[in-house]
Amino acid sequence: MLEINNLHCKIEGRSILKGINLKINKGEIHAIMGPNGSGKSTLANVISGHEDYEITKGNIFFKDQEINEFSPEERAHEGVFMSFQYPVEIPGVTVTNFIKTAINESRKSKGLDEMPSSEMLKKIREKAALLEIDSNFLSRSLNEGFSGGEKKRNEIFQMAMMEPELAVLDETDSGLDIDALKIVANGVIKCSNDNNSVLVITHYQRLLDYIVPDYVHIVMDGKVVKSGDKNLAKKIEEIGYDWLKNAKS
């Protein structure tokens, strides 16, 4: 599904990623952990195609094609979704209108007609129920005046609606209380299947109790310094990252 080879990238002349390697197969859930400033969010942005990040070396393959030069919207049309750490507000644009536009733009790129309203409505109801979102929420302006929890829930709602092949969740757990965390994690689990993949970026192992990863990677100073299974995340939770510093080459 996703293969990243020796990825280096810069923002404003500063090197952030210094040779990331990562391979995610269909149906797998991967987690990335690491201390502040290690390059986790940068990785999410680079996968999504944020133009501020310049790839200086290496490549990103998605579904066996190199996507280094793809625009963010082209990647989205291919099936890449990112749940934002800080979702932006768009006043006057309702959640429903936004998701409708997003879905139809992706369909348009594939030469499909707009999704019929009845089908859209049915899907919205189904996914809203999954994330325990009530209908008032859907007619509010996108993220405007949303609580931290509502914003994150809305991100996962959009993910559920768009049915991406690869979902990158950038610190989706930050700012969530335990009940909201469970709802969000449950939403992710329900949407995950043998044909899609999830990349969870987090500071805390707490989220991984609910979204259990197949693999855990530790990123430090722009590189993957250690990979393992869910027990690696537990170990980090107990003893921190210091012991890995020596692992850096």
Binding site: E51, E73, M82, V93, M162
Partner: protein, 481 residues
């Protein structure tokens, strides 16, 4: 002193020589420059009664003593008023045989606006049989209106056929001396629309939706007078979403609305005059005076979408004279490239329990400047008057400007005034967020701008709203690189 027809003719003949102008009655264009003779000639050309000629002359002498205002937040080279021709018959568009002969750029815009093929033909002056159909449609409309006693015609026709109404109301809301451009318009107005809704009649259709094409030729000094008699209702649409490429650089229109007791007037405008090119060359100066007066329990609602013109100077206002009357102003002003807009409203509260609402949305892109200027005035008599104002500005890029100049004058302690203002910038993070969801930048901008303008777009009549929404998108195309 007044001239007789003969004297005037003689005078004109002499002038002909003096200025080298051609006086044949059918001449299409007057020589450049403005003086009393020109004013008289315009009036004569339109076969106006003496009171109208005198009215124009009075306006002219007022105008002569006035100075062009300088207080706006606009920079432009002042027009030379002696360099303009003050009368030209509605220009006949060249007769084209098919749409193939029309400027393809224009057709592209029509398509984007979703204007039907037939209408495209009409707008671009293609001679077609369909016109016959539309004439019959027009007749049907006219019959319906006549049945209800509604008068809807050009102001020139109204001066001929309903002089008592015109004479009673013209200049009562925007006096001749009101301001420099209003005085100029009063002296030389070429044509415009007149509308009278009789007592208790609800006008069954949006006036001028159909007639918008006819309006295109009304010239640069347009005069509109709308009178809603007691307990009547009318929704009036002005303008056209299709781009108007006009040779006239200066447009100075006057619109007067009169809402008698319990009447309601809804006046919607879409202004899309040529804004000049990307480098700021050319474009129309649009200096308009629009004002309405509300009598007891009546209501006037202005809605405008301003996307065109190089320079816009416009403050549709309400005089809330009657007790319990209501004034509303909903505006979207878009400026791009080098456009400048100084627009807003005045709400003059005189009656008791008068209410006004102002919602202004300014969108600036490119190197444009967009100003909101509004006055809320509560007179000592206006007990329990209320106003709510909201002025939001949206900036695209970092070379444009948004300015807000709210003036509030309260002379009554019982008044309640609220003013809210916000300025925001379309952020790269918003664009990226949309991009990540598969929405390209152009579409993302449209989404954000429409969201921003929604409260005002919702106030437009349905069919107009759809076109206006597309117009916003077109106006801002290519504004974020």
């Amino acid at each position: 002193m007044a001239y007789t027809e003969e004297e005037l003719k003689k005078q004109l003949e002499t002038k002909e020589y003096e200025y080298g102008f051609y006086t044949e009655i059918d001449s299409e264009t007057f020589p450049v420059g403005l003086n009393e003779e020109i004013v008289k000639a315009i009036s004569k050309k339109k076969n106006e009664p003496k009171w109208m000629t005198d009215w124009r002359l009075d306006a002219y002498s007022t105008w002569k003593s006035m100075e062009e205002p300088n207080w706006s937040n606009l920079k432009y080279s002042k027009p030379n008023f002696q360099d303009i021709s003050y009368y030209s018959a509605p220009k006949k568009k060249p007769d084209l045989k098919s749409l193939d002969e029309v400027d393809p750029e224009l057709l592209k815009t029509f398509d984007k606006l979703g204007i039907s093929i037939d209408e495209q033909k009409k707008l671009s002056g293609v001679a077609i049989d369909v016109v016959i159909d539309s004439v019959s449609v027009a007749t049907t409309f006219k019959d319906t209106l006549e049945e209800k006693g509604i008068i809807f015609c050009s102001i020139s026709d109204a001066i001929q056929n309903h002089p008592e109404l015109v004479r009673k109301y013209i200049g009562t809301v925007v006096p001749k001396k009101d301001n420099y451009y209003a005085a100029l318009n009063s002296a030389v107005f070429s044509d415009g629309s007149f509308c009278f809704i009789p007592k208790g009649v609800k006008c069954p259709m949006e006036l001028s939706t159909y007639f918008r094409i006819n309006q295109a030729g009304t010239g640069q000094f347009e005069r509109t007078l709308v009178i809603a008699d007691k307990s009547s209702y009318v929704s009036y649409l002005e303008g056209c979403t299709a781009p108007s490429r006009d040779e006239n650089q200066l447009h100075a229109a006057v619109v007067e609305l009169i809402a008698l007791d319990d009447a309601e007037i809804k006046y919607s405008t879409v202004q899309n005059w040529f804004p000049g090119d990307k480098k700021g060359k050319g474009g129309v100066y649009n200096f308009v005076t629009k004002r309405g007066i509300c009598h007891e329990r009546s209501k006037i609602s202005w809605t405008q979408v301003e996307t065109g013109s190089a320079v816009t100077w416009k403050y549709p206002s309400c005089i809330l004279k009657g007790n319990n009357s209501i004034g509303e102003f909903y505006s979207i002003a878009v400026t791009n490239n080098f456009q400048q807009a100084d627009t807003g409203t005045k709400m003059i509260h005189i009656g008791k329990n008068t209410k006004s609402t102002i919602i202004s949305k300014g969108i600036s892109a490119g190197k444009s400047q967009n100003s909101y200027r509004g006055l809320v005035q509560i007179s000592p008599l206006a007990k329990y008057a209320r106003n709510f104002s909201q002025c939001d500005s949206l900036l695209m890029g970092n070379k444009c400007g948004a300015h807000t100049f709210p003036y509030i004058e309260v002379q009554n302690k019982t008044a309640q005034i609220e003013h809210e203002a916000t300025t925001s910038k379309i952020g790269e993070d918003q664009i990226f967020y949309c991009n990540q969801r598969g929405i390209d930048t152009e579409k993302a901008l449209a989404l954000i701008v429409n969201g921003f303008s929604k409260e005002v777009l919702n106030k437009l009549p349905m069919e107009f709203a759809v076109e206006a929404q597309k117009l916003l998108e077109i106006s801002l195309e290519g504004s974020v690189g």
